[in-house]
């Protein structure tokens, strides 16, 4: 539990009292590789604090094509705001999947909102987490439009240097929005 506190403090310091309330909601769980953290409708009430392993959030369009939106590694806090987003005539759904064995603290988001309703520091925690996530997403979008595939790969390597040892290469390619073949050519060029 102590490490949870330090993760949360990094986002926004909260009082001991609020932390106690919050920790009552949390259960520590370990999910095996390839299992889903958020997939079925009932999962959309959950929020997670990831403390070990790598998970990813995926958008899936109506043809079943998947794209890795973010790679989540510790420490990260995430929740799904909605199970599917209708973007005019495009409907896409969102899933969270474990790429390695993942250890998380899991809680019910509705209950969190309930206890946060009269605790200003918990609201601020949620606000800060939203801000951080928003910046992260803006950055991912900017990355996709400003940088070429090689630069995106180098960016990822800076963020998680040993990424190749952690997850499959085709999952990395999917995150970079290139084909596995393109990805292998990029790596050849850099490393040979």
């Amino acid at each position: 539990m102590e490490n949870i506190k330090s993760i949360l403090n990094r986002v926004e310091p909260i009082s001991d009292d609020s932390f106690n309330e919050l920790s009552k909601l949390l259960i520590k769980k370990t999910y095996p590789k390839k299992s889903f953290l958020i997939k079925k409708l009932k999962d959309f009430d959950k929020f997670f604090i990831l403390i070990d392993g790598i998970a990813r959030s995926v958008t899936i369009d109506q043809y079943g094509d998947k794209n890795t939106r973010s790679l989540l590694h510790q420490p990260s806090i995430f929740v799904s705001l909605k199970n599917n987003i209708q973007n005019q005539n495009h409907i896409f759904s969102i899933e969270f999947e474990c790429l390695t064995e993942v250890t998380v603290y899991e809680g019910n988001f509705k209950q969190f909102k309930k206890i946060a309703a009269n605790r200003i520091d918990l609201i601020k925690l949620y606000t800060s987490a939203l801000e951080v996530n928003m910046l992260y997403l803006i950055e991912k979008n900017a990355m996709n439009s400003h940088l070429n595939a090689t630069e995106r790969y180098l960016c990822l390597k800076k963020e998680i240097p040993n990424i190749e040892n952690l997850i499959q290469l085709n999952q990395i390619a999917n995150y970079l929005n290139i084909t596995p073949i393109q990805f292998s050519r990029i790596r050849k060029k850099i490393y040979s």
């Binding site: 958008t59 495009h90 896409f92 200003i120 939203l130 950055e139």
Partner: protein, 191 residues
């Protein structure tokens, strides 16, 4: 619905008192087309017209992030260096048409939300809406091809060509102006 209350309650219902406090920190302003909106400690609520957010990389290349329409709330969140700063991080806002908006001090707003609980819930809702907008843009960039992205934008704003320049449209859907012109030729001459 141009008054503040209606726009805010579109996101989250707030009390009369909070609205009164909130309206003290904003002023209604008009800006001309192409004006760059001051990025220091300001937030904006768009009432009329179009604005956009853009990112810049080290070489000065501009890419349009999002097109902001009526009732969008936006602010300059400070550039964060999450990816070790290898990514373009300057974000600027400028007007694509003549705009009318409410302008306020962001730090004063942050002061207010400490005191007024419903305003901080409002802020959360606005952030959630913003995240949804950014996720949508991300989805569009990776799942759709260039023609698909153009059609997507056309669906959103059918008369987009009359509102903003083609160059800006190309930048938003992340293609070159030449590519866009080919896409438009292909789409509109086959009809």
């Amino acid at each position: 619905m141009n008054n503040l209350r209606d726009i805010l309650s579109h996101y989250h219902p707030v009390s009369e008192e909070s609205i009164a406090k909130f309206s003290q920190i904003v002023v209604r302003k008009k800006y001309k087309n192409k004006t760059e909106l001051n990025n220091k400690d300001k937030f904006y609520i768009l009432i009329d017209g179009f604005a956009r957010s853009s990112t810049f990389d080290d070489n000065g290349n501009r890419k349009t992030g999002n097109i902001l329409n009526k009732y969008s709330v936006f602010t300059s969140i400070k550039p964060l260096s999450l990816n070790n700063n290898c990514c373009p991080q300057e974000i600027k806002f400028d007007c694509l048409t003549d705009v009318t908006l409410y302008e306020g001090s962001y730090s004063k707003f942050l002061e207010l939300i400490k005191k007024y609980h419903d305003l901080s819930l409002l802020y959360n809702k606005i952030l959630e809406a913003g995240i949804r907008l950014v996720i949508n843009k991300g989805y569009m960039l990776v799942h759709l091809d260039a023609a698909g992205r153009y059609l997507h934008l056309k669906n959103l704003y059918p008369d987009i060509e009359n509102i903003i320049k083609l160059n800006d449209i190309a930048s938003y859907i992340n293609v070159t102006p030449i590519q866009l012109s080919r896409i438009r030729k292909m789409l509109f001459s086959s009809q």
